[in-house]
């Protein structure tokens, strides 16, 4: 519609000028009139040339972005033609894997000849998940916006949105984690037992130094541990729920809290297509973030309840932190 409007507009402009040329019987005006008539031709040639020599890139500063925090999407164009592009209309979709939508975003860019242009678009994600950015359409318009040409060299890009680090929506209090009744974790640090004491070797973790004994012996001694997963915490997330975003928040918050307290844990969730529960042993923060990626990439499965029973049998005697959805809200409980 724009194109027709512009065409009519320019035609009227030309007709008026043509009439003035005829009316005023001026050679100068005729010269200018011819130039004006020829201008759309230049405009078309410029558009065609630029459309063939345009490349597009998409990026963000970081693949991992926090929920509710603005990130900048960079839409970069490189124009290798001799003509500047005054109006390149880019249509792109931004979609969270858990919240599909058909919304389009349209941005108009101008790109210098033999140069680059980068549009920085602020995006504030309000849900966790994997975000896909898909360039739907790149349309190069001519100078008068009468002709257009599509550029098929489109590209996709994705990034992750994880819960905000500050938020801690876990309902389980610290005291509960240490509770004798709950038997959530063993009393040993990091979910392991002390296997023995030995002299300090360069490279040993400082937190493993037995400070009391070292003080007594006047020498640095470190504690040696042996893994005992049987007694580590189990965090089971039931993702198939309308409150999936809240559940992810809770899982992430709980996970961070456990790691902060020094307890490794096993994150278990059911993914569609897998009969077995996906179990990830998490001992540090990067592991937690990587596990989020697995959650985002998994399609939630309905068989979580069955998995819960199987899990309980498997970890008999240990407590399980069970995070699931109740209507539109996430609930955390110890089972």
């Amino acid at each position: 519609m724009d194109k027709i409007n512009n065409f009519i507009y320019y035609l009227i402009l030309l007709l008026l000028f043509g009439f003035c040329t005829y009316f005023l019987h001026s050679r100068c005006l005729l010269v200018i009139f011819v130039a004006m008539v020829a201008f759309p031709l230049l405009s078309y040639i410029a558009m065609k040339s630029a459309a063939n020599k345009l490349t597009l890139t998409l990026s963000t500063d970081d693949m991992w972005n926090e929920k509710g925090k603005e990130l900048i999407l960079k839409l970069g164009f490189k124009n290798k033609s001799l003509f500047p592009v005054i109006n390149c209309i880019v249509t792109f979709g931004v979609e969270n894997r858990f919240y599909p939508n058909d919304n389009d975003n349209v941005i108009s860019l101008s790109i210098p000849a033999k140069g680059e242009c980068c549009a920085e678009i602020p995006i504030t994600p309000i849900y966790n998940g994997l975000v896909n950015i898909k360039i739907e359409d790149v349309e190069i318009r001519d100078y008068l916006n009468i002709f257009s040409r599509k550029n098929i060299k489109s590209s996709d890009y994705h990034f992750f949105v994880i819960p905000n680090a500050i938020s801690d929506s876990s309902e389980i209090k610290r005291s509960e984690l240490y509770s004798e009744d709950s038997l959530l974790v063993t009393k040993n640090a990091n979910g392991t037992q002390i296997d023995g004491i030995r002299d300090y070797i360069i490279g040993d973790k400082l937190k493993n130094i037995h400070w009391k004994l070292s003080a007594k012996k006047q020498d640095l001694l470190v504690k040696e541990y042996s893994d005992n997963n049987e007694e580590s915490a189990i965090l089971l997330a039931e993702l198939y729920s309308p409150a999936i975003d809240d559940i992810i928040d809770n899982v992430y918050g709980m996970g961070r809290q456990l790691l902060k307290e020094g307890y490794p844990f096993t994150l278990a969730f059911a993914a569609a297509g897998n009969e077995q529960l996906t179990k990830i042993c998490i001992t540090e923060k990067t592991g937690l973030r990587d596990s989020m990626e697995k959650i985002f990439l998994a399609y939630p499965s309905e068989n979580d309840k069955a998995s819960l029973y199987a899990l309980r049998r498997e970890y008999a005697g240990s407590g399980i932190i069970y995070i699931h959805g109740d209507k539109n809200k996430a609930v955390t409980e110890i089972v």
Binding site: L24, P84, N101, N103, R141, Y143
Partner: protein
């Protein structure tokens, strides 16, 4: 329905925000909300916009100047405008700064104009006069004195005006195109200025038009690609439009791309224009492109309008005096009554004497032309020579130019050219030497030589050359001659033609314009029938020629005895014999008289076989001369006001005099205004009084009935009075009862009766009503008695 809802939502800001919030919940994103533009390209953007504004301003200015072919100091004007453009460009960064700068520019412009009014006025007048030169050439208009330029140095005044104009245009174009890219407004304003010159067949240079076109195309492109933001104030860059499922994100146009694009357009238009210019030469164009018929049609109207417009200004009216044969290109003639010639002679006849200067030999619709070299002076000189030989009385005349310069010297009929050796002649209508202001010469002439001459050597040539009439005139005039019964050999032909003019035509100095492409004589003879001496003389010449009598159109000055005697200065010391040797002197001594525009004249000269050229007077009223017409008439108030404003500061003495006269006239006007106002006031007072009286008469009529209506009317009237005099607090019947208690014994009964009349289905009887009315009437009298005179008047007028 959903779409409709969305559309409605778009129009409500509040709803739009809600919609956006809801939508982000659905999609999981808020996109572009805090979009902030990087100002990396702000300067380039600004520079490009500044370039567009500069192109338009300079293109408009130079287009105008080159179209009117006016030369000016381009370097100074352009430098000043570029400098101011840079300042305005920098002020665009802050809106407040911008406004302050605009205010400063306008203030300074007004200040400069008021302080240097003469410079500006002279510059504007110079431009107008130079524009008129082009208009004059196109429409073949007469040369006029033009608007006065108090400061005559155009190299100073014109650039000053152009710089001021350019700066004001800069402000306008920065707002109309620099900021909002309003292509319609900008292109109309920028095109109209050079188009004025184009209309009058001026051909501007190509460069300013290239500038204009480039700027228009840049603007059109930016406007058409409207999704690009063009606003430089980057702090508020949020420019997001939600439409359906799409969200449009606006952003600042890339400065580098923008300037590249602008340059590309300039280069393209320049190359194309240069190429086409080389191909289509002016000759090719003229040969192949016919002139617009529409324009030819409008030309007539425009020309007439322009001349009418110009003729409204005193300076653009054609002056009296010698027009050198120009005809019909003026609507009126003004006389300045300033002396042109100083003539010294001894009057010897009551008849009009002629001093001829211009002789028109060939007629065309635009005027008379003198084709020199047709016949030599012999035919004229021969009569004088014969008279001299016959010893006929001669007259001597001294002619001095005091305010006039003409191509041909003034000569009375039958001048002995040998007495004026410095006036070397070429032939009988052309002289080698011009007669300019300050020139003076003496000559001998024979006023009424009663001699015959041998004209056999010239006669054929005269008959060949002085009988020419354009075809379009000949047919009509011949028909007129036959209708009127004019014949060549009629001895009373001159009287008959003069009589015809006298009866059917009107002499006026404001004959109006001759419509374009209309023959002057045909229009005068058959349509307008109004004109001045030039009209009558021209028409008479063609009539004589159609009848087969050689005739010429002559311009010069007429010496009328009554005027001479009215204005004369007698030279007591001069010997009259040296000035006139005849027997009938009309003055004992020679006299000196000053002739002004009033005596300028045009007449017909016909050839009489064996006698030579003889003047013929056909202008009506020539024999009914009023000497008072020779005086300058009193100026009208409007003329004085115009003169005051147009010539302010020129001459303090004159100015003061004019101010005094305006003041006198103004006080007269004030008196009339006061009388008018008083009359209006009296009328208003009369109408007001009539209205009050009518109201009271109506009330009295109602009161006279003494029925229930009378009671209610009286009750209401008393209530109004009490309220007006603030004796009633509240407007209920209870309040009224309390208020009436002071003026009657039983107010409760009265109030009760009123209530019954108003509200009860059973109305009280007539006797009750009458009694109540009487009680109320008594109360009214008591209330009025309490009031003072002024209050009574106020009550009577207000209620």
């Amino acid at each position: 329905m959903k779409t409709l809802k969305k559309i409605i939502v778009l129009f409500s800001k509040r709803a739009r925000l809600k919609f956006k919030k809801d939508d982000s919940k659905r999609t999981g994103f808020i996109i572009g909300e805090s979009l902030k533009q990087k100002n990396n390209y702000a300067l380039l953007n600004l520079l490009t916009r500044s370039l567009i504004v500069l192109l338009i301003t300079l293109g408009t200015l130079d287009g105008f100047m080159s179209a009117f072919n006016i030369e000016y100091d381009m370097v100074s004007v352009f430098s000043a405008i570029i400098l101011v453009n840079i300042i305005i460009m920098l002020s665009q960064i802050n809106p407040m700064l911008r406004l302050l700068l605009y205010a400063l520019i306008i203030w300074k412009a007004i200040e400069y104009y008021s302080v240097n009014a003469d410079v500006m006025r002279s510059g504007i007048n110079a431009l107008t006069n130079m524009m008129y030169d082009l208009v004059r050439v196109k429409f073949k208009l007469p040369e006029v004195s033009g608007f006065e330029e108090i400061i005559t140095d155009r190299s100073f005044t014109v650039p000053t005006v152009l710089i001021s104009w350019g700066i004001l245009m800069l402000v306008f174009f920065w707002e109309s195109c620099g900021r909002s890219m309003n292509i319609i407004l900008t292109s109309i304003f920028s095109f109209m200025v050079p188009a004025m010159g184009l209309y009058f067949d001026g051909e501007p240079e190509l460069l300013p038009l290239i500038c204009l076109t480039s700027a228009w195309l840049i603007m059109a492109s930016v406007k058409f690609n409207g999704k690009q933001r063009f606003d430089i104030s980057a702090k508020k860059q949020q420019h997001i439009i939600q439409w359906g499922n799409s969200q449009y994100i606006g952003r600042l146009i890339n400065g580098k791309a923008f300037i590249q694009f602008a340059m590309l357009i300039i280069v393209f238009i320049s190359c194309m224009a240069g190429f086409v210019d080389a191909i289509i030469t002016q000759e090719t164009y003229n040969a192949n492109v016919p002139e617009s018929e529409i324009k030819s049609d409008t030309d007539i109207a425009v020309r007439d309008l322009m001349i009418i417009g110009f003729s409204k200004y005193k300076n653009f009216e054609i002056k009296g005096s010698i027009s050198n044969g120009q005809l019909g290109q003026y609507s009126s003639v003004s006389l300045d009554y300033e002396p042109d010639l100083e003539i010294t002679y001894l009057p010897s006849t009551f008849e009009r004497e002629y001093l001829k200067t211009f002789v028109g030999t060939d007629y065309s619709s635009s005027g008379w032309e003198t084709n020199a070299g047709i016949c030599d002076l012999g035919i004229t000189n021969k009569t004088a020579a014969e008279a001299k030989n016959a010893g006929q009385p001669f007259n001597k005349m001294r002619i001095k130019s005091v305010g006039l310069s003409v191509k041909t010297p003034f000569l009375p009929y039958y001048t002995d050219i040998s007495t004026v050796p410095e006036m070397k002649y070429i032939n009988d209508v052309s002289f080698e030497k011009k007669f300019v202001q300050g020139d003076e010469y003496e000559l001998i002439y024979y006023r009424e030589p009663d001699v015959k001459i041998d004209d056999s050597g010239y006669k054929d040539e005269i008959y060949n050359k002085y009988l020419g009439v354009p075809d379009e005139n000949r047919e009509k005039i011949t028909q007129l001659c036959s209708e009127q019964g004019w014949e060549k050999d009629d001895p009373e032909l001159e009287e008959k033609i003069a009589d015809y003019f006298e009866k059917n035509f009107k002499y006026t100095l404001k004959p109006g314009l001759v419509p374009w492409h209309t023959d002057f004589v045909n229009y005068f003879l058959f349509e307008n029938k109004e004109g001045l001496c030039a009209h009558f003389a021209t028409a008479g010449t063609l009539i004589y020629r159609c009848l087969g009598i050689p005739a010429r159109y002559v311009e010069g000055y007429a010496l009328d005895y009554p005027l001479v005697m009215d204005e004369q200065k007698i030279l007591e010391e001069e010997d009259p014999q040296n000035w006139y040797n005849g027997t009938s002197p009309l003055s004992p001594r020679p006299v000196t008289v000053e002739l002004n525009d009033f005596s300028a004249h045009g007449w017909v000269e016909i050839y009489k076989d064996g006698y030579g050229w003889v003047p013929v007077e056909l202008t009506p009223g020539a024999d009914k001369l009023d000497v008072n017409d020779n005086k300058k008439p009193d100026e009208k108030l409007s003329d004085l006001v115009v003169d005051y404003f147009m010539f302010a500061g020129k001459n303090e003495g004159e100015k003061q005099e004019k101010i005094e006269r305006i003041k006198n006239d103004t006080s007269e006007m004030v008196l009339y205004a006061v009388i008018g106002i008083v009359c209006v006031l009296i009328l208003v007072a009369f109408l007001k009084t009539a209205k009050i009286l009518l109201k009271h008469i109506k009330r009295l009529i109602v009161f006279s009935k003494k029925n229930s209506d009378s009671v209610i009317a009286m009750y209401g009237y008393i209530m109004d009075i009490l309220l007006y005099s603030k004796k009633l607090n509240g407007i209920s019947h209870k309040d009224m009862s309390k208020a009436l208690a002071a003026y009657m014994r039983s107010p409760d009964i009265v109030v009760q009766t009123v209530e019954e009349i108003l509200y009860s289905p059973e109305k009280p009887g007539s006797d009750v009503c009458e009694n109540t009315f009487i009680s109320l009437h008594g109360a009214l009298e008591k209330i009025l008695a309490e009031c003072g005179f002024v209050e009574k008047i106020r009550i009577l007028t207000k209620l």
